[in-house]
Symmetry: C2
Subunit: 323 residues, 2 copies
């Protein structure tokens, strides 16, 4: 599929073009960057909602229920399920199938799983690009769900406007289910499985933590009780998510964060492109291979060699001009 | 502490200098890179052993037992305990204290915990640098232990010569304890808690997986049974680790992997330094701030802006020469 067809397909709400673009993003195909570059001006309209929390806290069920609510309100939904602990998409695919049962006939719901292919940094960039594709496609709501709740998940959901952190009653008894790093990124807490004993206690615990560290001025993360399997508490969750989005807009935080994200993204892209330019020049050159051998045999150290090669790389542009 | 003092301290086996250097590595202090650059030629002698596996599979106990065995054989030991799921070192510190009880009076054992400060990529680079510091210090054995067993842990232990993957009986019943990505990096499997029911079954299962995918030619990962708490199976594990190191040397794989690591490391350092050079030039310039604002407002896309800024950056070296 050519770039033109991809771009036109996505803008024309062709689901196959969208699926193809996300595959190209995952494969780090240069065509994906071309397409995203042209789709960029059509983005910035979706409300991006991240959901993270320990395994078994019902994230998938919450996502399914939220999707039903949003569909009922006439909104279109895109879902990205991210599993940083899996180099393949096997585990995540199972989750897909379960969700698909409920929304498989609904053409306004698009579900996609992403695993770690290659490096972790790659996963958070790929997730961010896939979210952008869904945004350009015209999805009103994009849900980004993680499988676990580690540091990699934190990085993944940081691209969201609104971050929901889930937990379940009793989980704090033996292990610290919600770790410090995750507490900090939560805009909304959800204590799911409210029918289990200790649900109110868990809410109190989280509120006590928030009393110590209330986070950003102007928004104290609410702590909601849900029973996602029965659908209880979901309308309240949807309302709270909308409230948070309104707060972001009115406080100017949405714009502020948008600027911060744009800067981070620009710098990531420059880092990627500039490094590729350097490595393309070095690859296969006998001096380069020789330097690597001398590093391996400890005749030279990589820090000094890096400095030398960078100076040579930058001077090569000097030479070109003097020719 | 000046760079000279740090370098002389580490080479003179001063534990405080070593601890200070690792702190500087964690803080990404430029002094750390200077020191590592000068220590580099004194590295390459330690046997680096990585240990990963699901939580609760007894990794810490195995590490403690291995340390006792190596000390008995007169070898010096460095231990790095890595927790990618924690932005702080709180959890890991607890592990330290437990280990310290057994080896706290032994000045030839150095234990250090590392959490994620900032980004994940930073953690694997910091771990690698800390291992290098222990190597330059003269540790014969460096053990790198991870808290969990996710993709981040895989990246961390990939710096090791020999990777041990731990598991426990029965763990495969409800969740897939050893995920595909971790199976692939194992040089040795350890089924710990051999007194639990299902230990032999677990060994059979792992062997069956290895029959399907035996990995690199010449080394089929052995599957060992241990009961680390009682010390059972530990001498056999030490012997197997030594066997694997011998195999790496004799097959030429140690050299081959050393070259690969040197190349990866050189490229990481160049990426870091070159990007820093670019960003230093851009930071604070009004054109740069303006471009970021236009990206945020969707007037421009980050991919096109990145290309333009890189061309400008490289041309600036051209201009300097024509002056």
């Amino acid at each position: 599929m050519r770039v033109d067809d991809l771009v036109q397909g996505v803008l024309g709400r062709d689901r196959r073009a969208l699926a193809r673009l996300i595959s190209l993003i995952e494969e780090e195909d240069p065509v994906a960057l071309d397409a995203l570059s042209r789709l960029y001006r059509h983005t910035g309209r979706a409300h991006i909602i991240g959901i993270t929390g320990p395994p078994g806290s019902g994230k998938s069920t919450i996502v399914t229920r939220l999707t039903s609510e949003y569909r009922r309100a006439g909104k279109t939904v895109g879902i990205i399920c991210v599993d940083p602990s899996s180099p393949f998409t096997g585990g995540a695919l199972l989750g897909d199938r379960i969700r698909m049962q409920e929304h498989s006939l609904d053409r306004e719901v698009f579900v996609r799983s992403m695993g770690t292919r290659g490096h972790l940094g790659g996963l958070s960039r790929a997730t961010s690009d896939a979210v952008r594709a869904l945004d350009a496609f015209g999805k009103d709501i994009v849900l980004v769900e993680t499988v676990g709740a580690g540091q990699s998940e934190v990085e993944v959901v940081e691209i969201a406007h609104t971050v929901i952190v889930t937990d379940v009653p009793g989980s704090g008894d033996d292990i610290q289910a919600i770790k410090a790093g995750i507490m900090e990124i939560a805009d909304i807490f959800v204590v799911n499985k409210s029918d289990l004993p200790g649900a109110d206690k868990k809410v109190t615990e989280i509120n006590a933590m928030l009393d110590i560290d209330p986070g950003e001025r102007g928004w104290r993360p609410p702590v909601l009780l849900t029973n996602a399997r029965k659908g209880e508490g979901i309308p309240e969750l949807v309302a709270t998510i909308a409230e948070h989005y309104k707060y972001l807009k009115e406080s100017g935080l949405l714009e502020e964060r948008g600027l911060k994200r744009s800067k981070e993204e620009l710098e990531q892209i420059m880092e990627y492109k500039l490094t590729r330019e350097l490595l393309t020049k070095l690859q296969g050159r006998p001096e380069y291979e020789g330097a690597i051998r001398r590093i391996a045999s400890r005749e030279e150290d990589p820090y000094t060699v890096a400095d030398r090669l960078i100076v040579e790389f930058l001077s090569s542009y000097k030479e070109e001009s003097s020719e």
